[in-house]
């Protein structure tokens, strides 16, 4: 199962890279730089999935108080942090030639930035909370509040008008079918990548926990 997932993810990521570079047509206005958008969307999608996993796992932890949910939430948060950092970097690279700036306080960017800070605080809280039970409970509570907070942040940030492109939904421009295929493959690829990384991270965590349980030095 693990091997199948690994090869499937690998194949899809290679395919996504190929499609991004060669299959997708060049955007007329933005040119080749637009191609980074597929990976930008891929990472932000997977980061959102990761954040949702943290939220759901945190609720389960508070209700059931079993350590596996805490492990799941923590691993997911770590990977989400990585993916979101990539999102911000790719977005910046895209924004410099297109908007003429590396960064701007547009609602989507503000919200992404705050999401990143919330992940960071989540990880700091875990490292500074104290005992294991307390760490798990506190971080779960923080994760739930943060998840509820994020839409409110977005709504309040939108009071000032934004410039991030709205591709889908009302007001969106619609896109070329070839671009759509590329995007879908990339999204799927990153979803699998997230699942794969999450599984591997959990394996490592469980090994660590098992080692501690055997009476290894606590850290």
């Amino acid at each position: 199962m693990r091997k199948i997932l690994f090869f499937l993810t690998f194949a899809l990521m290679v395919l996504a890279t190929w499609m991004t570079l060669f299959y997708a047509p060049t955007e007329i206005v933005m040119g080749h730089v637009q191609r980074i958008f597929y990976f930008h969307m891929g990472t932000v999608w997977a980061a959102t999935v990761a954040f949702t996993v943290v939220f759901v796992a945190s609720i389960y932890y508070l209700v059931k108080e079993t350590a596996k949910w805490d492990t799941l939430a923590y691993c997911s948060a770590e990977i989400g942090m990585l993916l979101l950092t990539l999102t911000i970097i790719t977005g910046s690279i895209w924004a410099k030639p297109v908007w003429g700036t590396w960064w701007t306080w547009d609602p989507q960017l503000t919200t992404t930035f705050i999401l990143w800070v919330l992940y960071a605080v989540y990880l700091v809280l875990r490292s500074g909370a104290g005992g294991r039970g307390k760490k798990a409970r506190y971080s779960a509570i923080f994760a739930i509040i943060a998840y509820v907070d994020l839409p409110v942040v977005y709504v309040s940030a939108r009071i000032k008008r934004g410039i991030s492109p709205v591709v889908f939904g009302p007001g969106g421009g619609g896109i070329d079918p070839a671009m759509m295929h590329t995007l879908l493959v990339t999204l799927l690829g990153f979803t699998l990548l997230f699942v794969l990384l999450l599984g591997e991270r959990r394996r490592i965590m469980n090994m660590e926990n098992a080692l501690y349980a055997r009476g290894g030095r606590g850290g």
């Binding site: 605080v121 500074g128 039970g133 307390k134 779960a140 509040i145 907070d149 709504v155 309040s156 009071i159």
Partner: protein
């Protein structure tokens, strides 16, 4: 309801007799206003947005200072453990604490506001201050915004105190979460000072009120899990 009020009364009496938090908060706010004033060098050409930001940053910083204190008092002599022994649900404890914190923070804000008026607004160009036009709406926003950041501040101060980092943890936890309060409160206050009509900031007001309701509810539910066992 009565239980909430009793906890409120207890906290309020403790503060009333010890007078620990209130003077500290007042002097701290005063110093913040002074620092902002010398840093910005406002003259008569005042930027209302910046002035609103000044007052809210002052409120939030001094407010969090007081909130950090409100639970550490309970830690002395293990008072909180006894509070938990009383036949009162955890949500009630949270709501009582919230009420006493809101009242205390609001009171100190009430003392700061006239000075704020004197330092920043009195010789501003193009400002008209009438009771119903500007002052009352302004105070209303102050109340709503304070409820907003104190709701999360009260909740997380009890969490932060039990972590290894203690007081350092509180701003870290609270600041990113209260961004909506900052955006809306500062926005509405500057709109009011600029003399904009109500419709201009009605949406911000809706967001602020929803923030208050959402997080008071969420925090009072989650408070049960927060202090499940004070043993560890």
């Amino acid at each position: 309801m009565r239980k909430i009020f009793l906890i409120f009364r207890k906290d309020f009496l403790v503060e009333w007799r010890s007078k620990q938090i209130f003077p500290t908060m007042f002097v701290f706010s005063l110093l913040l206003l002074l620092i902002f004033n010398v840093a910005f060098e406002f003259r008569s050409d005042i930027n209302f947005r910046a002035v609103s930001a000044v007052i809210w940053i002052t409120f939030i910083f001094s407010g969090l200072l007081a909130l950090g204190r409100s639970f550490s008092l309970e830690k002395e002599n293990n008072a909180f453990a006894f509070l938990l022994l009383t036949p009162v649900s955890r949500s009630c404890i949270y709501l009582g604490k919230l009420l006493s914190n809101v009242v205390m923070v609001l009171l100190s804000e009430l003392f700061i506001l006239p000075l704020f008026l004197l330092f920043f607004l009195l010789n501003a160009k193009g400002i008209s201050l009438s009771l119903t036009g500007e002052i009352l709406p302004f105070l209303g926003v102050v109340v709503l915004g304070t409820i907003g950041f104190v709701s999360l501040g009260t909740f997380f101060s009890s969490m932060a105190l039990n972590t290894k980092l203690r007081d350092m943890m509180l701003p870290l936890l609270v600041f990113p979460l209260i961004i909506p309060v900052v955006i809306t409160s500062v926005g509405i206050c500057s709109s009011i000072l600029e003399g904009k009509p109500f419709g201009y900031y009605a949406f911000s007001l809706q967001v602020l009120v929803s923030f208050d309701i959402i997080f008071i509810l969420l925090c009072s539910i989650l408070f049960e899990y927060l202090i499940e066992d004070s043993g560890d």
